[in-house]
Structure formats: C-alpha cells, structure tokens
C-alpha cells in the first residue's frame, strides 16, 4: 500500500532558482543539479529519478539495461477517481519510463554489479507486477552471473491498482533474494527517499548491508495512519533514515556524493 503522507521532498520545480525544503533558502537550480541534486547550502537530498540515479552511480556508458520495455496492461481494469490506465500514461509521460524501476548490469568504479533503481515520481514508486518482475529478474541475473546486487529503493509501497498481484511481488522478490543469499551473493540495499510499506517489508530490508541517504523517509505504516490509530503525536524525526539507523535497521547513512565509493569498497570486502 502506497504511503502518501508527509512528503516534504518534491521534485525540483522549473525555473532558475528554487527553494530548498531543507534550509528554506533560494538556491541556484543549476548548482543543485551539478551537486547530484543535493542542496549546496544544507546538504538536503532532493529526490532523483531512476535514470538519474543510475547515471550518478555507474561508470560512464557501462549500464546495460534489462527488460526496458516491460509495462502493465492494467490486469484488474482498476479505476478510482482516475483510471489506472490514465495514471500509467501520465506517469510514463512525466518520467519517460514504462514503470517505476530500472534494472540492468553496470560497473561501479570498475566493479561489475547488477543494479536496480526505483523512481518515486512514477505513481509514488509503487511496486506492481512490472517492478516485481524487473527486480526479480535482476536478482536472478545476479545469481546466475555471480555478481553483487545493488538496489536503490524509492517507493511508497505495493501498488494498490494491481491488488493482490502487487502484494505477491513482495513474496516473489524475497524468494528470489533467498536463493541469491543461498548462492552466497552480496546484496547492498540503498534506502532513499521514501522507502516504505511493501518495498521496505520485502527486498528493501533484506540487504546484507543496508545503506540509507540522509533524511530519507523510511517506515512501514504511513505516519498519518499511525497518528490516527495511536491518537498521539509522533516523536521528532520518526521514520527517517536517522531513526532507522538509531534503531539498528540501517548499517550506514551515506551522503549521495559518497555512495559510489562506499558501494565499491563494500563490494571489495565481500567478493
């Protein structure tokens, strides 16, 4: 189930200048972009799309994408206030992706890996059949090739518009990871903003090593639901990367500029 609460992080709006949600300062858009979409003033990590994520992690031109054209045929004929078909078409137009994940083979600082990246701008990065299939395929390829696996999560959870099929992707991806684990593969999960619900409760949490970007929202149940159920205010910093680190569910909080070198050196320890 996709969480859609408390998302302070927005796409970088059009225009030369933009206001950073972290420090509230007006910052020069180009400087943010050149800085891996991190605020040069306060290090606030803006959301990045799947393609940008891949581009900033891999060695130039080394990415070889798997299953690039997979898409959902809207298996349930789902519609709420808007039809799923329309939502998909809108998201495809906005992101230039067919669905919320990009997977493939790549090199990171010369180390061969299988890499997955999710796109929070595509229907909240929610996981339906396509995301589940792509992630599973990536895990299986990593198992066959004996390569380390890196998945950058960014998701509101399971995609409601595919009903039980979406929930089943949690089981599918986790089962594939069980085999990968058995085969001795290294899986580095990177939790980026937001990593929640069904993705957190499946492959998101199953990393041998779990990294998180600073300030990312990470949690299972949406804060609004918890607030309503508990009838109380939530503690400061609840369900952030730092909160998860403090409670022992994240190994390292890693700034975006260090992600490449962190992954590379962790891979070296575990090959």
């Amino acid at each position: 189930m996709a969480i859609n609460g408390r998302t302070k992080k927005k796409d970088i709006p059009e225009g030369l200048w933009l206001r950073c949600p972290g420090c509230e300062e007006m910052v020069f858009r180009k400087r943010v972009e050149e800085n891996l979409h991190v605020c040069p003033e306060c290090a606030y990590h803006f959301r990045v799309g799947a393609r940008q994520r891949v581009a900033m992690l891999v060695d130039t031109d080394s990415f070889e994408e798997y299953l690039p054209n997979l898409m959902s045929p809207d298996p349930l004929g789902f519609g709420d206030r808007k039809s799923y078909i329309e939502r998909l078409a809108d998201a495809q137009r906005q992101t230039n992706l067919y669905d919320a994940a990009v997977v493939g083979r790549a090199y990171i600082r010369g180390r061969p890996v299988v890499l997955g990246a999710m796109d929070a701008n595509f229907i909240m990065g929610s996981m339906g059949s396509v995301v589940g299939e792509k992630i599973t395929a990536a895990i299986e390829r990593a198992t066959e090739l004996g390569l380390p696996l890196v998945i950058c999560c960014a998701s509101g959870g399971a995609r409601m518009m595919e009903g039980i099929l979406s929930l089943a992707q949690m089981a599918k991806t986790s089962a594939a990871l069980a085999r990968f684990d058995q085969a001795g593969g290294l899986y580095i999960a990177v939790m980026t903003h937001p990593t929640t619900a069904g993705v957190l409760a499946s492959f998101g949490s199953l990393g041998d090593i779990i990294l998180a970007e600073p300030g990312a929202m990470i949690g299972f149940t949406g804060p609004r639901v918890i607030r309503q159920t508990m009838k109380q205010d939530l503690p400061e910093g609840f369900q952030t990367a730092e909160f998860m680190f403090e409670h022992g569910f994240v190994d390292r909080i890693v700034a975006r500029r260090d992600l490449r070198s962190e992954i590379a050196s962790l891979v070296d320890y575990c090959d």
Binding site: G163, I164, L206
Partner: protein, 322 residues
C-alpha cells in the same frame, strides 16, 4: 446466545423468530405446526442461499469480519489434538496476535501458526485485534524453524487487517520482521499449508502467508490493503470502501483465478459463523488432504515448486517499441 447480525442477515432473523414462536406455541399448547415450520425453514434456506449467492465484495468483507466468525483458536480447539502452544520470540515479548504451537491434525504432527483477533473486548485488546507486532512474526519464524528442524509440516491460519500500526512496531522493525519471514519461508524445508480464514490484508497477512498450498474460505477476502485503507488513499475518503472492495478484486474467486490461491473451501449455508462446527470439519478434511499430498513430494521438488508458484504471479506486457 444472540448472534451478531449483519444488515443483509436481518431478514433471516425474522424467519428464525417465527420458527421459534411456532415451536414455543407447539410446546405450550400441544398443537402441531410442523408443516408450517417446515415451510418457513424452506423459505429461510432459500433466502440465505439467494442472499449469499449475490453478495457484493464489500458484503463479503463484512462476512469475513463477522464478530462470530471462527478464528484460529476456534479451529485449533475444534480439530488440533494435543495442542502445545509455544510462546515468545525470545527477543522482546509474547505477541498474542499470533498463536503458535505443536499439534496433531488427523493424526499428523504439525506446527501451527495463525493470527488471532480475539473474541471479547479483553481478548481483542490482548491480541491487538489480530494486528501483529514484529514479535509476532519473529515468534512465527522461530516456531517454523523448529518445525523444519524436526520435520513437521507447517499449517497456517491467516486472519488480519495488517500489521500493527504503531510507534513500537516501527521502532522494533515491523518491516524487517515481515521481510525476513518472506525470505525464510521461501526456503523452509517442510511443507506449508495455509488457509485464509477471514481477512488476509497487506504485509501483515503475507508475513505468515507463504505456502505450498494456499486455501481460502469461500467468504474470506485477500487484499493488498483493507478496502477502507485503499479508499482513504485513492478516493480520499474511507466511505468509498465498497467501491474499493469492488476494484481490488479481493474475493476468493478472483484470488483463485490469478493463481495466488490453490483451493476455495466452501462454507456452510450462510457462512462459517452460522455453523462453525460444520466449517471446522470441512477445513480439517481439506487441510489433511493437502498435508498428505505434500508429504509425497521430495523436499527439493517442493522448494522448486514453491519458488515457481511465487515467481509466476504477476501480469506484464512488452510495450510496443516505437
């Protein structure tokens, strides 16, 4: 004992009251109403059958949540012999939203894992209304590992609206506990027979929901999220839950059609809560049959089949390349 009554069950109550009155009259005045009683009973049965044949998905959700619907503990009491409940996750506490233990079903030694919602208010509070904390999932995994160690098949009962939505659950890693169960259950070296007995919603269901054979009671439902939760997010109001229930395709027939559920277990006339004993007898027989079936499959093949079953769920197409 007065039975809780759903809106669409109210007409049944009227007939039942008529029958009771005639029976009373028969006794007190020593007259014979048997023909009339038979005729009303006939109409009642027809009415229940017609009503239940035409239930909307949202009404099915109501049946799945019926206050008198049998729960895990009721099935355990009905057909699990010599049940030895096992408590605690060895890490934090005993979560009563998940019942675990050893027992015998039809002479077969098994491990039992099931959500428990609780019947009266005190029980419901103690069981968190069937919404498990990480401790519940970790206890379940501990007992499943015991089952694996001693070669006992695992029998699960699924009945939850989801994992517990609270601060403590988040602090102690509710997502981690579910994810780990998904991974570990995928490779558990003993057969798993699961049954969705009431509600099977969200990751809270899936956390004990991996199975080699998944059964589903006729009026249970299974969904990525409760209809209210879905409506609150997509329609922006929980009042649209009936629409969400329709859109989510959460009924047993849909679940069987998409390959998640292997077998629909028929319920007695008017659903499980009207004849819990009959329901238990049917379920015991069906579970027993599946256990015998799985026992014959070598472990390697069992795990291979389990993987394929999980692997093949989902519908994707290749986009037209422009």
């Amino acid at each position: 004992m007065a039975r809780a009554c759903l809106e669409f069950e109210k007409p049944f109550a009227k007939f039942e009251e008529q029958i009771r009155q005639l029976e009373r009259d028969q006794r007190s005045r020593n007259v014979d109403h048997s023909a009339e009683i038979r005729s009303i009973r006939h109409s009642l049965v027809a009415m229940i059958r017609n009503t239940y044949d035409a239930l909307t998905p949202w009404e099915i959700v109501q049946v799945a949540r019926h206050p008198d619907r049998p729960q895990t503990a009721d099935y355990v009491a009905a057909f699990v012999k010599d049940f030895k409940e096992l408590h605690g996750d060895r890490l934090f506490r005993d979560d009563q939203a998940v019942i675990c233990g050893f027992g015998r079903i039809g002479g077969e030694k098994v491990a039992i894992v099931g959500h428990q919602k609780g019947r009266d208010t005190r029980e419901k509070v103690a069981c968190f209304f069937g919404c498990a904390h990480p401790e519940g999932y970790r206890k379940a995994l501990r007992v499943m590992r015991l089952a694996e160690k001693f070669g006992l098949p695992v029998v699960t009962f699924i009945d939850t609206q989801g994992a517990y939505p609270g601060i403590g659950a988040e602090e102690r890693g509710i997502a981690d506990s579910i994810a780990v169960n998904l991974r570990e259950m995928a490779l558990l070296k003993v057969p798993i027979v699961g049954t969705v007995i009431g509600e099977g919603a969200s990751g809270g269901y899936l956390g004990i929901g991996i199975a080699d054979r998944l059964l589903m009671l006729q009026y249970a439902y299974c969904s990525v999220i409760t209809p209210e939760g879905c409506a609150a997010i997509l329609w922006r109001t929980a009042e649209k839950a009936p629409d969400a229930a329709e859109a989510l395709h959460l009924t047993a027939a849909h679940l069987e059609a998409c390959g998640v559920v292997d077998e629909i277990v028929p319920e007695p006339l008017g659903a499980a809560h009207r004849s819990p004993r009959e329901m238990a007898t049917t379920l015991e027989r069906r579970i027993g049959r599946r256990l015998r079936e799985l026992k014959r499959i070598p472990t390697d093949e069992l795990l291979q089949q389990r993987y394929q079953k999980l692997r093949c769920v989902g519908v994707v197409v290749e986009a037209d390349k422009h």
